[in-house]
C-alpha cells in the first residue's frame, strides 16, 4: 500500500515523442483508471510505472521512493496483463507461486498465501490444472491471483478485461472493484472502455495523444469536461458539438451539449431534420441533421413519441447544459 506519483513523465521512442509530460498523484488505496483511445500512450505510461519501459524524463515515485531506475521486482508492484501472460507449462498453483518462489518465500507461507488467494477468487478446484484447461474467466482470475499473492503496494492492470465476452466483463469488473476495496491496495488500471473507467474509478485520467487531458472523479469528468476531447470521449452517445454561428451567437470555438440534456421542443433553439431514430427500449436516440450539416443526437425517454424520419423538428435545452470550448478545444 503506497502512494504513487508521476511528475512530468515523458517518453520518446527514438525521435517520436509519445508521452508529453504527465503529472498524476495517486493517494494510498485509490483506484485510478487511465482511459483513452488506442495509441494515446496509456499502456506506455503504465509500463513505465511497472518498469518495463524506461522513463525518458520525469520522475516516478512509489511510496516516497524514486523508482525510475529500479527493476520491476524492486518496485513492489504486481501487474495483470491483457493476455493474462500465464506460464503455460505450470499449474495454476505454480503460476501463482512463481513470484514468491523467486523471492525465496518459505514454502509454508507460499502455500498459505496461494490458498488464501485461490479461496478469494474461487479457484480452489483448479489449482492443479494447466492454464490451457481453464476458461477465459478462470484464466483472468489466475492472473489476478498471481497479482494478489505478491501482496504488492500497487496493482497495475493493463486492459485486463478486453479479452472477455461482454457478460463476463461486467461480472469481472465488479469482482476487481470488490477485491481492490477489500485489499485496500492502490490500483492503476488502463482501459479504452469508458464504461469500465466510469464504474471502476475513484478518479480517472483521460489521456489524449500523450497528454492527460483531465484528471478527476468520474462524475466530475463527465459533468464538467475540460476539453472537447474529454467531452466527446466520455459518455455514450458522445456530446453534441455545435458552432456558435448555428445558434446565432458570436465567437469561435464550439458549444457542447450532452444528448440527454436536449429535448424535442417546438420552442427550441436548434432546428434540424430527423435522419433516423434508434429505439433502445428504455430510451430512444434521435439523430438529427442541423442546417449546417452537423450531426446532433438527442437522447429521450422511451415514453416520448418518436418523430418520423425526414420530419423537421426543433430541440431545446436549458442554458446550464451548454459547455463552451475555445478554438483550441479547451473549456472556457
Amino acid at each position: 500500500m503506497a502512494t504513487v506519483s508521476l511528475q512530468d513523465i515523458r517518453k520518446s521512442f527514438g525521435k517520436t515523442d509519445v508521452i508529453h509530460g504527465v503529472d498524476i498523484d495517486i493517494a494510498d488505496g485509490e483506484f485510478i483508471v487511465i482511459v483513452g483511445p488506442s495509441g494515446c500512450g496509456k499502456s506506455t505510461l503504465l509500463r513505465m510505472v511497472a518498469g518495463l519501459e524506461t522513463v525518458t524524463s520525469g520522475e516516478v515515485r512509489i511510496g516516497d521512493r524514486r523508482v525510475n531506475e529500479a527493476e520491476p521486482m524492486a518496485r513492489d508492484i504486481a501487474m495483470v496483463f491483457q493476455n493474462y501472460a500465464l506460464y503455460p507449462h505450470m499449474s495454476v498453483f505454480d503460476n501463482m507461486a512463481y513470484g514468491l518462489k523467486i523471492a525465496k518465500t518459505p514454502k509454508s507461507e507460499i502455500e498459505a498465501r496461494v490458498a488464501q488467494a485461490a479461496k478469494m477468487l474461487q479457484l480452489e478446484p483448479y489449482l492443479q490444472r494447466k492454464p490451457r484447461e481453464l476458461s477465459g474467466g478462470q484464466r483472468q482470475r489466475v492472473a489476478m491471483g498471481r497479482a494478489i499473492v505478491r501482496k504488492p503496494a500497487v496493482f497495475l492492470f493493463d486492459e485486463p478485461l478486453s479479452n472477455l465476452d461482454a457478460k463476463l466483463r461486467v461480472q469481472m469488473r465488479l469482482e476487481i472493484k470488490a477485491l481492490q476495496r477489500e485489499l485496500g491496495v492502490t490500483a492503476l488500471y488502463v482501459t479504452h472502455d469508458q464504461v469500465e473507467a466510469m464504474t471502476l474509478a475513484d478518479r480517472m485520467v483521460v489521456m489524449n495523444g500523450g497528454v492527460a487531458d483531465q484528471v478527476g472523479a468520474p462524475l466530475e469528468v463527465y459533468g464538467n469536461p475540460q476539453t472537447t476531447f474529454v467531452a466527446g470521449f466520455i459518455g455514450s452517445p458522445p456530446t453534441n458539438f455545435l458552432s456558435p454561428a448555428l445558434l446565432g451567437q458570436q465567437g469561435d470555438g464550439q458549444i457542447g451539449i450532452r444528448p440527454e440534456h436536449m429535448a424535442i421542443d417546438p420552442e427550441g433553439a436548434l432546428q434540424g431534420t430527423v435522419a433516423y431514430a434508434e429505439a433502445l427500449g428504455a430510451e430512444t436516440l434521435v439523430h438529427l441533421r442541423a442546417a449546417d450539416g452537423t450531426q446532433v443526437t438527442v437522447r429521450q425517454d422511451a415514453a416520448h413519441a418518436i418523430p418520423a424520419e425526414g420530419s423537421a423538428i426543433r430541440v431545446g435545452w436549458q442554458d446550464g447544459a451548454m459547455m463552451r470550448f475555445d478554438a483550441a478545444g479547451r473549456r472556457v
Binding site: L52, M73, Y84, L86, Y87, P131, R132, E133, R150
Partner: protein, 384 residues
C-alpha cells in the same frame, strides 16, 4: 470458383495418393532391409525378401537310403525311413511327389509308384517311405525322389550374432556402434546448449549490434562445410586437439550451430512478450527467465533440432573421416564400418543388410520417441 468451400476436399485424393507413395517409398527399402537381415545367404540368393514372409511351395530333391541298408522281409527286400531325416532337410508336409524330373508331382502322399524292375516306392505325407523290391537292390546311392512341399517361413538371428557379438574384426559393428554413440550424443547436446543461450540473447536481450549478429549467423548457413574441413583440421592439429572425439565434437558443434541458433531464435522470438515481462515483474533474473520460462516453452523447437542434429551426426561419414578416424581404426564409426564391409563383404547381402539395419535402428527409435514433440504445441492456453 463456384464452390470455394469444396475446393479443398476435391484435392484430398491427391494428398492421400502422395502420402501413400511417400510411405511406400520409405517403407519398401526399410522393411526389405529388416527382413533380409533375418535371412540366410542361400535364402537371399534364391528368393526375394517379400517371399520370405509366406510359406512357399518348394520342390526338393531327396534320396532314400542307400541300397546297402536294405533288409530282407520274407522274400522282399525293403528299405524304410524318412526322406527328410535321410538327407538332413527340415521336415515339411509333402503335397505331391514323383520319381522322374519330367513329372515331379506324379503321385500324392500314400500312393505307391512302380519303378520298373519290380521295385515299388510308397511315400507318406510326413516323408516316411517304404521301398520294396522282389530282388536284391544294387547301386551305391538311394532312389532319387522329387518332393513338392510347403516350407514355412524361416528366420535366423545368426546375422545379428555375427554382426554384433562375434568380435570378428571385419564384421563386428559393436565397437563402431559405441563409437558412433560417443560421437553423436555430445555432438547433439553441446550445440543445443550453446545455441539455446545464444538464441535467447538474440531474441530477447537488447544489446548493440544484435541485428548484425543475427544476419551474420544466418549468413553462415550458406557456408558449405567442405570449405572448412582442411583449415579446421589444420587448426585442430596446430592447437594440439589432433584427430579424436574432442575434435569431431567441436567440428559437429560448429557446423550445427548456425542452423541451431537460427531455428531456436526464430522460435523464441515468437513466444509471447507478456509472459516474459510478467516473469520480469515477478522478479525473475534473465537466467531464471531463460531456464524456467523460455527453455520449457521452447521444448518443441529444441526437440526438433535435436532430431535433426542427431540424425545428421549419426549418418555422417565425411566429418568423422576427416576429424576422427585415424590409422589405428580404434575410433571407426558405423558409417565407415559399413563402407569397409562393402569392400570386404560385397557379396554377402545378409551381412550388409544386417549392418545397415543396425545403423538405422537407433535413428528410427529416436524419431518415433521424439516425433510427438514436433507436432505438439506447448503454448496452448498461455494467452487468449
Amino acid at each position: 470458383m463456384d464452390n470455394i468451400a469444396g475446393s479443398k476436399s476435391s484435392l484430398t485424393w491427391a494428398v492421400h495418393i502422395a502420402t501413400a507413395l511417400l510411405v511406400a517409398l520409405w517403407l519398401f527399402p526399410t522393411v526389405g532391409l529388416f527382413v533380409s537381415s533375418f535371412r540366410t545367404a542361400d535364402q537371399i540368393a534364391s528368393s526375394g525378401w517379400w517371399n520370405a514372409l509366406f510359406p512357399t511351395e518348394q520342390t526338393l530333391t531327396l534320396r532314400t537310403a542307400a541300397p546297402e541298408t536294405q533288409v530282407q522281409e520274407g522274400n522282399l527286400y525293403v528299405i524304410e525311413g524318412n526322406l527328410f531325416t535321410e538327407t538332413d532337410t527340415p521336415p515339411a508336409e509333402i503335397g505331391s511327389w514323383g520319381t522322374s524330373s519330367r513329372d515331379v508331382s506324379a503321385y500324392g502322399p500314400g500312393d505307391t509308384a512302380e519303378l520298373g524292375d519290380g521295385e515299388k516306392l510308397t511315400v507318406q505325407a510326413d516323408g516316411g517311405y517304404r521301398l520294396e523290391s522282389a530282388t536284391e537292390m544294387t547301386g551305391s546311392r538311394g532312389q532319387r525322389t522329387f518332393v513338392t512341399a510347403e516350407i514355412p517361413p524361416e528366420f535366423t538371428l545368426d546375422n545379428y550374432r555375427q554382426v554384433l557379438f562375434s568380435g570378428d574384426s571385419t564384421d563386428s559393428m559393436a565397437k563402431a556402434f559405441f563409437n558412433t554413440l560417443t560421437v553423436t550424443i555430445p555432438a547433439t547436446i553441446i550445440p543445443i546448449v550453446v545455441a539455446a543461450f545464444a538464441a535467447y540473447a538474440l531474441a530477447w536481450m537488447d544489446f548493440p549490434g544484435r541485428a548484425l549478429l543475427i544476419a551474420f549467423v544466418v549468413g553462415l548457413l550458406v557456408v558449405p562445410l567442405q570449405l572448412a574441413l582442411i583449415p579446421l583440421l589444420k587448426l585442430h592439429l596446430g592447437i594440439g586437439i589432433g584427430k579424436g572425439y574432442l575434435g569431431v565434437w567441436l567440428a559437429h558443434t560448429g557446423f550445427g550451430l548456425p542452423l541451431a541458433i537460427y531455428l531456436l531464435r526464430n522460435y523464441m522470438v515468437g513466444l509471447p512478450r507478456d509472459i516474459i515481462e510478467n516473469a520480469r515483474v515477478d522478479g525473475a533474473t534473465e537466467f531464471q527467465i531463460f531456464t524456467k520460462i523460455i527453455l520449457p516453452l521452447s521444448f518443441p523447437a529444441l526437440a526438433s533440432f535435436a532430431i535433426f542434429q542427431f540424425l545428421w551426426t549419426w549418418n555422417d561419414l565425411l566429418v568423422a573421416k576427416v576429424f576422427l578416424i585415424d590409422a589405428t581404426g580404434q575410433t571407426t564409426v558405423m558409417t565407415n564400418q559399413i563402407v569397409e564391409l562393402l569392400g570386404t563383404r560385397g557379396g554377402n547381402w545378409e551381412i550388409l543388410a544386417t549392418a545397415a539395419f543396425v545403423s538405422i535402428a537407433v535413428p528410427l527409435a529416436v524419431f518415433f520417441a521424439m516425433q510427438r514433440y514436433l507436432v505438439r504445441g506447448l503454448l496452448a492456453g498461455s494467452v487468449k
